[in-house]
């Protein structure tokens, strides 16, 4: 029978609006009244947005802006010195576009130092360059014979305002101290236009609105072109990280919204009973998700802005340029807010659909829907993992040639999807494995299996956290474990190397005439003076020859200096001559170096001669020794600039090489201070030497340790946020357990097993996925290959695979055990 018109008549026109308003109002009130139930999701979103706000602010403002050179101009042209083409271009642009500002630079060296600065001719009141200049004291130069210096140049040249700077035959009076507020590290001496005699860099600023830059000439850039030339800029990276964070949050939030929907099942049933459609009911859950996302994101922005305002002064100090109060990449922040809302909406979509599948009568009685049919197959996950494997393989194949970024990103996305798809299978498998386990274990693993909509999402998120950590760990271990292309810190904090200006310098292959002995004596005296000032009794003379090592095969080549293993050097590092093979050609502390094949010790005019017979790795006996005898000696220092690999005196004599002093390694008992380093630089510069001290390159251990810590914290954080949600689904069972006499120990055990099991499977799946990623990439990578994975961060993997699950179980046991709410009938109101 067809419904009568009296019963089934149409809504008033535009009638969805009141419905939406009513549903959103209820969702908002739900959130307001019960925000504590959503506090985990709210906190996650707020923290993610706050971190993104501050992080992207720091990331964007720490390096110099790529647009810094433009001043207020929209077009910038650079020329290598003054030329007829430059002059013609300036004339043309001036005719066509009016104002043009020319800034000329000539690179100069501070005497006794490798530090350079620019002699800059710029009109401080020019039409476009004013943002690039700021007066600290005094005044800008107004005529020839006047100069304003940056404070760094003034200090280096030992000049103050009023002094006269003699540059060759030219004398200029220092009339002011200036800076580039957009780059406080930039060092220059400012003179009036026309006072730079031999500019090697000319910048022309002008405005050519609406004109395609390429029509103006090959040297013209616009800010848009600069932005396009750097797709992996801080904004893009921050946005990618924010997207990843939101993906993890969405996985956790699915559980949050599901529990929220189940808590209000009877109300939702009532809504259906009074005539809400499935669409209306789903809208409540979705609106709750959107509102949670909006509130979390707004809280995050406020917290992030507060943190940004507090941190900005420190950032200015460390970034060496002025940072505006609101100089934040708002597009990225707005995108992060939008991502948060979208993530929350997407997370709420599945529970919204699920809740509409529950019959109204079942909902009214508060009975949750039975778990959906079990998916026992791991096939979809494996299929996607295989796709990921090949994508990462493609990335590895082109990685060495500078491409493969797209394949890499797609590969990791596919791997993430594979992990999420596979997660429920492992829960089912665990439940099967524990069929005969004690009650608490059995109950916990069965609940994980039954409620795998929640536990599967949490497991996926934990696995992804571990996957990221393991990928970083294994890749770092592989990269830092490469004996050929040795990576890591250059020196220890107590070491300092003084380099002579030649003949071989700090690197190989710079053979030329030996230094005059009087210079060497002066430099040696300076080195001893520096060592004395540092309180060091260890000053090691570093000698080099024309010899270096070469890997005559595919993959990475040898990197690093090859000093001579003088008796003094060996003694300084406690290496007894008796411990060395008398026929060893090379000593190295690099693990695995002695087992490398296709090594060549090349010397003399090997590189000057070019490839022999067209073979790139030909090894003529006149200047090449194939497969030199290499002995590993752990006593040598590990720094990349330190003598970690040395040529023996046996080889030096055998190959008739001429050792020459190329520097001195000074070892202090204590970490060198900035003042000591500055003084050493000044002394070294006076003697014509340069100084190298510890750089900021981290050790492999520190990278791996940090990756482990971050991975564990991420996994435990997700676990902490998920476990309550997962257990809340089985709260009815726990009540029954309590009613039948189970003690708090049983309840604790159930929670501990839930947490421990999730952490363990997450660690195993994440580690396996991480290895899949690096194996897939390395397998096809011509630079490293699978052999690079032989260096395994065992201790850190054990921490992730053992300590993390144990810690999670212990945490669950300690925090659980509270008496569940009684069985009393709980009315809705």
């Amino acid at each position: 029978m067809t419904p009568t018109p009296a019963l089934v008549h149409e809504r008033p026109s535009g009638a969805r609006l009141p419905v939406r308003r009513a549903m959103v109002r209820w969702a908002w009130r739900l959130l307001r009244r019960e925000w504590r139930q959503q506090v985990l999701v709210l906190a996650l979103i707020a923290v993610a947005v706050a971190v993104t706000t501050v992080g992207v602010g720091v990331a964007v403002n720490t390096p110099l802006s790529p647009y810094v050179g433009f001043g207020t101009a929209t077009d910038l042209a650079t020329f290598s010195g003054v030329s007829p083409s430059e002059t013609a271009a300036v004339v043309t642009w001036r005719q066509h576009y009016g104002s043009v500002q020319v800034i000329e630079n000539e690179t100069m060296t501070i005497p006794g130092s490798i530090t350079t600065f620019d002699l800059r001719a710029q009109n401080p009141r020019g039409p476009y360059g004013q943002p690039l200049l700021s007066l600290v004291s005094g005044h800008f130069p107004t005529r020839a014979g006047e100069v304003a210096l940056t404070s760094g140049v003034a200090t280096s040249l030992n000049l103050t305002r009023g002094d006269v700077w003699h540059q060759g035959d030219i004398a200029r009076r220092v009339v002011g101290i200036v800076e580039n507020p957009l780059d406080l590290l930039e060092q220059f001496a400012l003179v009036v236009p026309g006072q730079v005699p031999h500019p090697n860099d000319v910048t022309v600023l002008f405005d050519a609105p609406g004109v395609a830059p390429h029509t103006l000439g090959p040297h013209v850039l616009t800010p848009a072109m600069v932005a396009r030339s750097n797709p992996l800029n801080p904004e893009t990276i921050s946005l990618a990280l924010a997207t990843l964070a939101m993906l993890l949050i969405a996985l956790v939030a699915v559980a949050g919204f599901t529990v929220m929907a189940q808590r209000h099942l009877r109300q939702i049933g009532m809504l259906g009973a009074i005539g809400a459609t499935d669409r209306d009911i789903a809208m409540v859950v979705r609106a709750n998700g959107v509102l949670t996302g909006v509130v979390g994101a707004l809280v995050g922005v406020v917290v992030g802005l507060a943190a940004w305002l507090a941190y900005r002064p420190r950032l200015e100090a460390s970034a060496h340029h002025v940072v505006g109060v609101l100089a934040l990449p708002w597009v990225v922040i707005v995108a992060a807010v939008a991502l948060a809302v979208v993530a929350a909406y997407v997370a709420a979509t599945k529970p919204a659909r699920a809740v509409t599948r529950i019959s109204i009568v079942a909902a009214l009685s508060g009975r949750p829907a039975p778990p959906p049919p079990m998916r026992r197959t791991v096939v979809p996950g494996v299929v996607v993992a295989v796709v990921a494997f090949f994508l990462l393989g493609a990335a590895g194949a082109s990685g060495g040639k500078g491409g493969g970024v797209l394949e890499l990103v797609l590969g990791f996305v596919a791997l993430t999807v594979a992990v999420v798809l596979s997660a429920p299978f492992f829960l089912v498998a665990l439940s099967r494995l524990t069929r005969r386990a004690p009650l608490a274990v059995r109950m916990a693993t069965r609940d994980l299996e039954r409620f795998r909509a929640r536990s599967g999402a949490a497991l996926g998120a934990i696995s992804i956290g571990v996957l990221i950590a393991v990928t970083v760990m294994v890749a770092s271990a592989a990269r830092f474990g490469n004996a050929l292309d040795w990576a890591g810190p250059n020196l220890s904090p107590t070491q300092l190397i003084l380099y002579t200006p030649g003949p071989y310098g700090p690197g190989p292959g710079n053979a030329s005439a030996p230094l005059p002995t009087f210079n060497l004596a002066t430099m040696h005296a300076a080195a001893q003076s520096i060592a004395h000032a540092l309180g060091s009794h260890t000053i090691i003379t570093l000698e080099t020859t024309s010899a270096t090592l070469q890997h005559a095969g595919p993959g990475r080549n040898y990197s690093g200096p090859l000093y001579v293993a003088t008796p003094q050097l060996l003694r300084a590092f406690g290496i007894a001559a008796s411990s060395l093979s008398p026929t060893a050609d090379v000593l190295s502390m690099r693990p695995g170096f002695s087992s490398l094949t296709s090594m060549q010790l090349v010397y003399g005019d090997y590189f000057g001669r070019g490839p022999t017979g067209g073979h790139p790795f030909a090894c003529p006996a006149s200047d090449c020794l194939a497969n030199p005898a290499i002995q590993e000696v752990s006593g040598l220092p590990s720094g990349t600039s330190a003598p970690n690999t040395v040529i023996t005196q046996y080889a030096v004599h055998r190959l008739a090489l001429t050792p020459l002093v190329s520097g001195w390694l000074v070892q202090s008992a204590r970490t060198l201070s900035a003042l000591q380093i500055t003084d050493a630089r000044a002394t070294a510069a006076a003697a014509g030497m340069t100084v190298e001290t510890k750089s900021s390159i981290p050790t492999s251990a520190s990278i791996i340790d940090w990756a482990t810590v971050v991975g564990i914290l991420l996994a435990l954080g997700i676990l902490a946020m998920s476990i309550g949600l997962i257990r809340s689904e089985a709260v009815r069972d726990v009540r029954i357990l309590t009613a039948t006499g189970a003690s708090s120990t049983t309840r604790r055990n159930v929670t501990a097993v839930t947490a421990g099991a999730l952490a363990l499977i997450g660690a195993v799946v994440g580690t396996a996925a991480g290895y899949v990623a690096v194996i897939a990439f390395s397998r096809t990578n011509s630079l490293d290959g699978l052999s690079s994975l032989s260096s395994v961060p065992v201790a850190n993997l054990v921490v992730i695979l053992v300590a993390m699950p144990v810690g999670a179980a212990a945490g669950g046991w300690l925090l659980a055990g509270r008496e569940p709410a009684p069985f009393a009938h709980q009315p809705l109101e």
């Binding site: 008033p12 009141p18 009532m270 009973a273 005539g275 009214l364 009938h825 809705l828 109101e829």
Partner: protein, 243 residues
């Protein structure tokens, strides 16, 4: 002509060995303005009967016709629309939305039906005024007494001129005085032409009905009975209203 007609209704839960016959061959008809009480022991199928009558559940067999329209021919959305415009529910435990005020709870079916908030509010306040709750409109459910909550639930069930009122133990969570007030209100609705079906265990309250249907083991064993005398004795100050 009956406003609600249930013909040969059967409801089976489960399948195979776990099959449970909740209702078997049940016929029930309710005219406009009539109050029918459904009584029976726990598990006899009373609530299932009410759920099927209100389109909350599908019968396994038989047909439900409301105001001449068969529910079997309706889509889920048509049924939802029917519940918004024609059928009103009153539950034992009120089932008000805790996050909405009394008047917002009352206006919910109207707003779900696309009525503007202002118009719906006006109608909601009128319904509350008629039930003596004009000053409680802006209170949240947890600020109301049990009797007040159930009156709000009744207002929600009748707002928008709905013609079929289905009440499942409407006084079950109330004391006898409030239970009487609730029954008076249901009777008042019937006096305006609303057809009402009330499931109750309370013979005193059932005595207010025009007809009592007794259900046992999923079958209607008697639907001709009327219980008399009790209302006046249980609620001397509020005798059943004349219809």
């Amino acid at each position: 002509m009956s406003f609600l007609e249930m013909r040969a209704i059967g409801k089976i839960y489960g399948a195979g060995s776990s099959e449970v016959h909740a209702l078997t061959d049940v016929d029930l008809s309710v005219e406009r303005g009539a109050l029918v009480a459904v009584m029976g022991p726990s598990g006899s199928g009373k609530s299932t009967l009410l759920s099927i009558a209100g389109s909350l559940e599908e019968p396994t067999s038989g047909e439900v016709v409301i105001d001449g329209a068969s529910l079997s021919a309706m889509s889920r959305n048509d049924k939802a629309r029917l519940r918004r415009r024609t059928v009103g529910y009153v539950f034992q435990d009120f089932n008000l939305l805790a996050g909405l005020t009394a008047v917002e709870n009352v206006t919910l079916p109207l707003e779900l039906d696309g009525v503007t908030a202002r118009t719906a509010r006006r109608a909601g306040m009128t319904a509350l005024e008629e039930l003596g709750l004009a000053d409680r409109g802006n209170r949240f459910p947890d600020e109301l007494s049990g009797g007040e909550r159930q009156r709000v639930a009744i207002a929600r069930a009748v707002v928008g001129n709905r013609q079929l009122l289905l009440a499942d133990e409407p006084s079950g969570a109330l004391d006898s005085a409030n239970g009487t007030v609730v029954m008076e209100m249901i009777l008042a609705a019937c006096r305006r032409g609303v057809a009402a079906v009330v499931v109750t265990h309370d013979a005193t309250l059932a005595s207010w009905a025009d007809r009592v249907v007794v259900v046992r083991d999923g079958r209607v064993v008697d639907q001709s009975a009327t219980l008399t005398g009790s209302p006046s004795s249980s609620a001397p100050s509020s005798p059943p209203l004349e219809r």
